[in-house]
């Protein structure tokens, strides 16, 4: 009897592509979708990392740079026998930060990797799903930064854009039975953040960012307080993605599901 409803969340027989899946939230999503029965293509610019995850979950590893439209057209146009699920998780906050410190090139990179990348991946995916006869589910990973101002104009605008991109694409593709939604994660400690804090890779806060409102007392206080009392995990985000790509949400499209422990609503 319980199987009756849990079966709706089962992805057995479906083929999914998850971008940015070599580490962090993307890796968590790939693992959960695979555990729910899907065959998962682990796509990442870091092919060694993608291979490690793919081997673990019995999926396939694919090297792709989501800022390259030609590479995306190749990847999404040819992977698997049938494309059922696309999760656009790849993104970067390397180009986050105060406008006082940011170059226009950096700002454009923030938009390119976090927003234009969605167009690069969704266009060939949508064409493929329509060609297959319709049906399918796309989830774009946005951020609470797209709801509340957090990390500066480039990153925040790109993530707000990702949320509206999802609404617009949902309306566009609904006649083909393709659902499109966004998930906006709150604070999830991931390896990339840890490496930034450890100084292994560039930190997005310039040294003098304390003169900016981004690192002022208001945002510092806000980010220290998650109402549910804990930071998020990749699994928290992955479960929301699983709901939105499964038959349990077959009437949900054009929505942004915020998964943040209550952080944005205080």
């Amino acid at each position: 009897m319980r199987d009756e409803i849990v079966r709706l969340f089962d992805l057995t027989g479906r083929f999914a592509v998850v971008t940015g899946a070599a580490t962090g939230i993307g890796e968590g999503i790939a693992r959960v979708l695979a555990a729910a029965g899907a065959t998962v293509a682990v796509a990442d610019i870091d092919i060694a990392g993608a291979e490690r995850v793919a081997t673990d979950i019995g999926g396939v590893a694919v090297e792709v740079d989501v800022t390259d439209p030609v590479a995306c057209a190749d990847t999404f146009g040819s992977l698997g026998e049938r494309l059922d699920i696309v999760v656009n998780n790849a993104g970067s906050y390397h180009d986050a930060g105060s406008i006082l410190d940011q170059s226009v090139e950096s700002w454009r990179r923030a938009i390119d990797v976090n927003l234009a990348s969605l167009f690069n991946c969704c266009k060939p995916s949508a064409a493929r799903m329509v060609e297959q006869g319709g049906g399918g589910a796309i989830v774009n990973i946005a951020s609470v930064d797209g709801v509340l101002a957090c990390l500066g104009t480039g990153y925040d605008s790109a993530k707000a854009g990702a949320i509206h991109f999802s609404r617009s694409l949902a309306l566009d593709l609904a006649p083909h039975g393709i659902r499109v939604n966004a998930v906006s994660p709150g604070v999830v400690p991931v390896p990339t953040l840890a490496r930034m804090h450890a100084g292994e890779i560039g930190h997005f806060w310039p040294e003098h960012a304390s003169t900016s409102g981004l690192m002022g007392p208001i945002t510092t206080m806000r980010s220290a307080n998650v109402p549910l009392g804990r930071k998020g995990t990749p699994d928290d985000i992955a479960h929301a993605v699983l709901f939105l790509v499964s038959d349990a949400s077959s009437y949900v499209t054009g929505q942004n599901l915020v998964v943040d422990g209550g952080w944005t609503i205080v």
Partner: protein, 259 residues
């Protein structure tokens, strides 16, 4: 027993209250919860309707209690919570779904009698507050409250003003309750259904069974179909489950992409 991903979407050992559970969306929610593993307390004004739903819950192998009464009566709401504790041993989930109106005559606010306004605010908003208060009183830490809203809350609703105002209030209540109850790890979320052809819905749109195939197009639903009680029930199961344990204060819109 291993904890598989799919197990996290089930509600084993759950004990749920569902208000307005006699038919329509409330019935769909009660059945979905029972399928997911919950025992259920069902309440609505009409005893024979909730008794029939209780039978369906029992046929799924779960316990069910039907308690008829008026959800706008604060003492009755407290009694409901006490019955759940006495007969099911407590509650892990409270779903405030009851809604409607005693006078459903479509009117502009300029022509609205106080009585129609007051009643709609009582049943659609005040009962959500009293329900959450009763739930918080009897619930162990870690439970969940889910308030059924409506997409009517999101924009102008001519001829349906008090209902839309009440549902917008429900969305606000969901946010504030989620923060106030977060220290107890009680999560509070909402589900806002779009067009679901329940009896009340059909009456409001003056629609008959024969109109249903065209209604989704007429209402401009991008996914091309009307919603079902199951669509709402599935969203409730997700928001009540461990799979959503870091989601609170959110209202999930289930409307096929419609306005």
């Amino acid at each position: 027993m291993t904890d598989t991903v799919l197990d996290r979407f089930a509600l084993a050992e759950g004990r749920a209250m569902v208000t307005g559970a006699g038919r329509g969306i409330g019935e769909g929610i009660a059945i979905a919860l029972a399928e997911a593993g919950c025992d259920v307390v069902l309440t609505a004004r009409r005893g024979h309707e909730i008794e029939a739903v209780a039978e369906r819950v029992r046929s799924l192998g779960r316990r069910a209690i039907a308690v008829a009464g008026d959800i706008t009566d604060g003492a009755f709401v407290e009694e409901l919570a006490d019955r759940a504790v006495a007969e099911l041993g407590g509650l892990t989930l409270w779903v405030s779904n009851a809604g409607g109106a005693d006078d459903r005559t479509p009117r502009h606010l300029a022509d609205m009698p106080d009585r129609q306004w007051d009643y709609q605010l009582d049943v659609n908003l005040r009962a959500v507050f009293t329900g959450a208060r009763a739930a918080a009183r009897v619930m162990d830490d870690g439970g969940s409250i889910i308030n059924i809203s409506s997409t009517a809350a999101l924009r102008a609703s001519p001829n349906n003003g008090p209902y839309a105002v009440a549902k917008a209030g429900v969305d606000s209540l969901t946010k504030t309750l989620s923060i106030e109850l977060a220290p107890r790890a009680i999560r509070v979320n909402g589900v806002a259904p779009g067009p679901v052809p329940t009896e009340v819905f059909m009456e409001f749109f003056g629609a008959t069974e024969a109109d249903l195939p065209q209604l989704a197009t007429k209402l401009g639903v991008p996914l091309g179909r009307l919603g079902t009680p199951e669509d709402v029930g599935n969203a409730v199961v997700f928001l009540a489950s461990r799979a959503s344990s870091w989601i609170t204060g959110q209202t999930l819109v289930v409307n096929g992409g419609s306005r």
